[in-house]
Amino acid sequence: MADFLSQYSIQRWLEACPQGYLDGTVYGHDPDETEAEEVLTIDSLREASIAVTVQLIAGERCALAASSGLINCAPDDASKMFLATQTLDEARHVEIFTQRLMDLGIKKEDVNSTVADLANPNLVKFAEVLLEKVANKDFVAGVVGQNIVLEGMAFSVFELLQASSAGNPKFAKTLAGTIADERRHVGFGENRIGSLIQEHPEKRPEVEKMQAEMSYYMLATFTDMFSDAGQRMEEAKAIAAQRDENPLDGVSWHGADLMTATPDVMEAVLADTVLGEFKTRLGRIGIEYQSPKVPA
């Protein structure tokens, strides 16, 4: 364990992240990059971008609260070191997505009210399930909820958004840095918690129940977010057709053609991808994946 945890030191993090793949960026993107023009000028696309960005901020605020809250109940110094780097990663994510909200025209003084108004209620419940474990200083459940469930979801959502942002290099670049961060976080969760689950097998039922509950709220969030996406996706296609070029032409994500896929198809592909990842990763740490209830 000591060797594995040494890979997550502050020094390694400094070299890999701020001195590495973030080098030369401002708020996660190249200094001269701006939002795609149509996102800024077409109301429906701008509103949709704001709604998506709000969900990212809500998720990252939860991750920031969880990772910082877990430091005090971490069983060893090396885990505290890693969680300290994760705390700052998540704070950075909050900052860059908040900046994006302002780049999309939300005034600084309206950021918090916009997030409160537009955060999906199911995503808020998803966060509450996790933060209850953190508040109870339950390290094992907290790390599984944070570094496998929440981060696993974020990883796939960010990948999908990045693939969908072929026409918006600024946002795609911002997401690339967060994806690199999330990959580290998921890796820590799998490695550290596997040994802790073996030491505390009595924790399994509680952790499995939490995973099912969080997965349910995650699926409900996906359903809500894709339910009114059809018109917007058609609008984006029409704009691309007028320009005689579609940046999504030939782009696919986990087998779905992003230029032709319907919202229902995209929702199903995203849900299957995330749940598949949960199953694989939970299996590696000795937790039995629980199929969640399907949202109505």
Binding site: V26, Y27, G69, I71, N72, T87, A91
Partner: protein, 267 residues
């Protein structure tokens, strides 16, 4: 990463103090600002010091004394790590939450560099050695500080951590830096630079909140008076570890007294 300013450049013309108050806080309490700051003094110093720096020759007694002194530092830094991580959730504004997250990473780095220094000095069982040599006064201070955090008392916790603890560390580290071997001195230099930022945040945040709130000021003055003896005992214990006789102690806590005076907590 590059500096942000308003336009993403780091040109000489950019001056954060010309920004309005909200914008200033958002700027200086950001990840970007933090990284710009630490990169200046840590960029070429992995683990806090220049790898080409030559170790001083220490005899057994000198090495043992240094180990004893250094054993106190991870205790104070771990207290700060645990307190600042708890304060992330208590922060009232997004910028102060981001700042506290940068402090979490700073404190974790301090724990890491001091522990590594101890390992390089030949300490094999770190946790046991630290537990056996650290001053009990520091552990008492840590309990008090974390109690404030657990009770959700932002003002008291920021005062205890970002004013009291940071001033204690700043004072002791500065003194130790003047007598330390080159490697330890360079590690301390980077840590001191971080502590100054934390202290600045504490004074700035509390100063704004105390202005026009005499009740809160009175409460903090009372807490300060209650903690003073403990703070002084911490100073004395550390100076003893540094090998000083009482008549050689530097003026105890001058910068601490200056800080509480600036906050109007002189009582």
């Amino acid at each position: 990463m590059v500096g942000t300013g308003e336009t993403g450049d780091t040109g000489d013309a950019w001056e954060p103090h010309l920004l309005d108050e909200d914008e200033f806080l958002r700027e200086v309490q950001s990840f970007e600002f933090w990284f710009e700051a630490i990169e200046g003094y840590l960029g070429d110093r992995p683990n806090g010091y220049d790898p080409d720096l030559v170790e001083a020759e220490l005899d057994d007694a000198e090495r043992d004394q240094l180990v004893t002194i250094l054993c106190n530092y991870p205790v104070g830094e771990t207290a700060a790590l645990e307190a600042s991580s708890g304060l992330v959730r208590l922060a009232a504004t997004n910028p102060s939450q981001i700042f506290m997250a940068t402090q979490v990473a700073d404190e974790a780095r301090h724990v890491e560099v001091f522990r590594r220094r101890l390992e390089h000095l030949g300490v094999s069982d770190l946790d046991t050695t630290i537990a056996s040599r650290a001053n009990p006064e520091l552990l008492e201070f840590k309990r008090t500080l974390l109690g404030f955090v657990d009770d959700g008392q932002w003002d008291l916790a920021v005062f205890a951590q970002n004013v009291l603890l940071e001033t204690m560390e700043d004072t002791v580290f500065r003194f130790h830096q003047t007598t330390a071997d080159p490697v330890t001195a360079q590690i301390l230099e980077g840590v001191i630079a971080d502590e100054r930022r934390h202290l600045g945040f504490g004074e700035n945040d509390l100063g704004r909140r105390l202005a026009g709130d005499p009740q809160r000021r009175a409460q903090l003055t009372e807490v300060r008076a209650r903690l003073d003896p403990l703070v002084l005992r911490c100073f004395e214990a550390t100076y003893r570890d540094l090998g000083l006789r009482p008549d050689e102690f530097p003026e105890l806590g001058r910068s601490y007294l200056d800080a509480v005076e600036r906050l109007g907590l002189g009582g």
